[in-house]
Symmetry: D3
Subunit: 73 residues, 6 copies
């Protein structure tokens, strides 16, 4: 406790996940005043064909717009 | 907001998911009076060996009955 | 199957939820070719103090902007 | 109803999952006084690189300690 | 690990939940060969107006049928 | 994207949640190189009678031990 789930578009590296686990555990331990040994973090990788937003499935979203380009990069 | 998760037995096509995202976004936008840009939809594909019902894991369920045959097709 | 979870900011009426269940069941039954009897829908009401976006907890978000005002109404 | 999700480190066999579905359905049916036909069980397999605890991602956790060795075996 | 979530229609007593935690921990420990100290169980109480099935929100479902009466009791 | 869920024993203050949202958004934005506007954070408050660990429901856990006392405070 706490139990944290991070759902993210697939493609993040193991190094990024490791860094996030380390820093997020530190942060949650500080703010919630709980030992790091009681913090659990889960990642869920989301494939583009399993993610819809703005009324469209991600692979079909018009990515020419500035707004979308960052996320899918 | 809202955030919608659709857990479904694996095997649905990208076209089916796309159609569902388009129509479900339209529907939720209408009923909840929220812009489509604020609706997020996630699919979770469930493998048969990760799904149990009626006291049995799906691959071992007797599928000769009419009741089950539709779902696993 | 499928199992659908709708996480939404609290405040939706029972009538809105009922309408969504009826129409969403119809829609999912059509697109995934599954009987309505096999579709389950869950709502999760989210309190504003349990929802953060744009780097801020919802009750503290500047709602004067057009972009935010719709969602919290 | 009820709907049970079992998130577990990947590597469990289909036989283990089957045994758990059978016995867990029996147990839940008894304690909650509900027919087995109304119980649904889902497994979620967790890859080691998607699981962090004790402030570290699992593949980088020092496993020489007695405490950890059991879980990762 | 494992982490188990039990979503159930509200109304279960603390005694029922306690009994389920005790017996489910025993069971999962046996089948998955994991210490009970590594098992976490969460309950999610579902209000009837947050649960839809058979194309209808639960409070509006025709409960005169034998099939439904057990679950809502 | 990403979508982060923080399940925590009830009792955290709005101020703690606000601080966590602010700092966690900053952190995730840095590590995953994503704009803060695309990060969503949800809290789920867990009542003690809905949480079991070590084979027992939390309200019945022996809290005299050093190990448990921190978490329930």
């Amino acid at each position: 406790m706490p139990f944290i789930t991070v759902k993210v578009l697939e493609g993040k590296t193991v190094e990024q996940k490791r860094e996030l686990v380390q820093k997020m555990s530190e942060l949650v331990s500080d703010v919630f005043e709980v030992e790091k040994e009681k913090i659990f973090i889960f990642f869920e990788d989301l494939a583009p064909h399993n993610y819809g937003k703005h009324g469209e499935l991600l692979p079909y979203l018009n990515t020419s717009s500035v707004e979308e380009s960052g996320e899918q990069a």
